[in-house]
Each structure stands twice: as structure tokens, then as C-alpha cells.
């Protein structure tokens, strides 16, 4: 059981995913919500690479993990631009207090 196999990587990824979801749900600050999203994307990447190795699928899983990293970079840039705009408009970035589109 202590011998590391596919299951160990999947369990690490599942716990990381749950922690990310917990962060997304409980944090008020929009930047903290983004950090939770990064945790979730990382856990998905661990799954891709683990299955790529243990499923004997060649390197396709690694290529898709690379695509996920690139998408995460684009997503973080756009989301932070939106957060900066929200801060300019409302003077805070608490996601539970911002409930209309313009002011």
C-alpha cells in the first residue's frame, strides 16, 4: 500500500481539487478566488500527467497539461484585469458585495 502507484497521485489530486473548491466557495476576496481556481487547474494537470504515464498513452497527457497551463495564464491575466476594473468602480473586490454590473 505504501508502494506509490497511480492511486496515490489520484488521491493527491483529489485532495488538492477539494481544497481549491473550498477556497473558491469560502473566500470573499476575488484574488483569493483566483488562487482557488489555480489549485483546481493544478489538480487536473496532475491527473492528466498521471494517466499519461500509467495508462501508457504516450505523451498526449503531457501536451494537454501544457495547454491547460497556457489557458491558466490567459485566464489569470483576463481575470485580474476585470478585478482591477471592479476595484476602480466599487473600491473593493469582495465578490459577495458586488451584485450589479455597473454603478
Amino acid at each position: 500500500m505504501l508502494q506509490v502507484g497511480l492511486t496515490h497521485f489520484l488521491i493527491v489530486s483529489a485532495i488538492l481539487f477539494s481544497l481549491g473548491i473550498y477556497g473558491i466557495v469560502t473566500r470573499k476576496n476575488a484574488v483569493m478566488v483566483l488562487m482557488g481556481i489555480e489549485l483546481v487547474l493544478n489538480s487536473a494537470n496532475i491527473n492528466f500527467i498521471a494517466f499519461s504515464k500509467y495508462g501508457n498513452f504516450g505523451l498526449s497527457g503531457q501536451v494537454i497539461a501544457l495547454f491547460v497551463i497556457i489557458l491558466a495564464a490567459a485566464e489569470a491575466a483576463i481575470a485580474l484585469a476585470i478585478v482591477l476594473n471592479i476595484y476602480k468602480t466599487f473600491s473593493n473586490v469582495n465578490v459577495d458585495e458586488i451584485d450589479h454590473l455597473k454603478e
Binding site: 466557495v25 470573499k28 483566483l34 497539461a65 490567459a74 484585469a81
Partner: protein, 165 residues
């Protein structure tokens, strides 16, 4: 329990403990620094899975790019003079219970399922093969991601620009 297993457990502990601190610390700047250790731990797990190029990309893009971007976000959306930058939290207990149940369910499924497990012999360097795959099988996605990055760059610049009023 050989050397590989010990290193795996060390990296898994680093990743999960720092991720736990990321989502439980109230201070946003502390969270960002714990996120650094999470990213390094995940990069170590990638190396253990034989994905050296992805691990380096992870460190370059996440630690060098996204984490710095997040820190800029923290600094630009709080008063800098305020040393204790804190975040409020909502629904702590229901969220903890729900994600705990979810985590338990997923872990049980992961453990009970009979996964096909035949580890492939990892090539010494994956970079060459990833490059070949990017320009043959995945060339359409590769080009589309190039366009997406351009669009994201222009979009982020135009969204964050201060309007002249």
C-alpha cells in the same frame, strides 16, 4: 518503500499542507506565498511522473508569471499602507462539510476503481517528443492557443486601461 516513494510523500506533503494554508490563512499575502510552495510541490510531482518539460513550464509560468500577477492584483486592490491585508470568509462550516464529503467520495472512487496500470517507460527527455506532438497531432490546438494568447493579451490591456473621462 524505496527512495522514489519517500520523495513522493515529501512532495505530496509539501503540496497539500501549503494548499491547506492557502485556503485557510486570512492574510492574502501569506496565501500567495504558500501558493508558491504548492506550485513547487506540484512541479516535483510532475518530475516524479517523468514530465520534466511540464515541470519547468510549471515553475516558469506559474511561479514566474501567474503568482507575480496575483501579487500585483493583491497590491493594486488594497491600500498598500495596510500591512495586514485580510480577506473575509463566508459559509465556512457548510463549505467544509460539503467539500469534505465530496473529497471522501472522490477518494473512495479513486481507491476502489481498478485502474489500468501499466507504467510506460519514460523516455530520457520528453521535450523532443512533446515538440513533435505539438507540430503534428496537436498543431490545430497549438495555433488556436497562440491566437487565444494574443486575444487575451490585447483584451487584458484594453480592459485594465484607465478610461479618460
Amino acid at each position: 518503500m524505496n527512495f522514489y516513494d519517500i520523495i513522493f510523500y515529501i512532495f505530496a506533503a509539501i503540496t497539500l499542507l501549503s494548499a491547506l494554508f492557502v485556503v485557510t490563512t486570512r492574510n492574502i499575502v501569506h496565501s500567495a506565498f504558500y501558493l508558491l510552495f504548492t506550485f513547487f510541490g506540484v512541479a516535483g510531482i510532475y518530475v516524479l511522473l517523468g514530465a520534466d518539460f511540464i515541470a519547468i513550464s510549471q515553475i516558469l509560468i506559474y511561479v514566474g508569471g501567474i503568482l507575480i500577477l496575483l501579487l500585483f492584483g493583491v497590491m493594486l486592490t488594497n491600500k498598500i499602507t495596510n500591512v495586514e491585508i485580510r480577506t473575509g470568509t463566508v459559509h465556512m462550516l457548510p463549505a467544509a462539510i460539503a467539500t469534505g464529503i465530496f473529497m471522501g467520495a472522490v477518494v473512495v472512487v479513486m481507491v476502489w476503481t481498478e485502474w489500468k496500470s501499466e507504467p510506460s517507460a519514460t523516455p530520457l527527455t520528453t521535450t523532443t517528443n512533446i515538440g513533435h506532438l505539438l507540430l503534428t497531432d496537436y498543431v490545430l490546438i497549438f495555433e488556436l492557443l497562440g491566437i487565444l494568447l494574443l486575444v487575451a493579451l490585447i483584451g487584458a490591456a484594453s480592459i485594465a486601461r484607465r478610461d479618460k473621462e
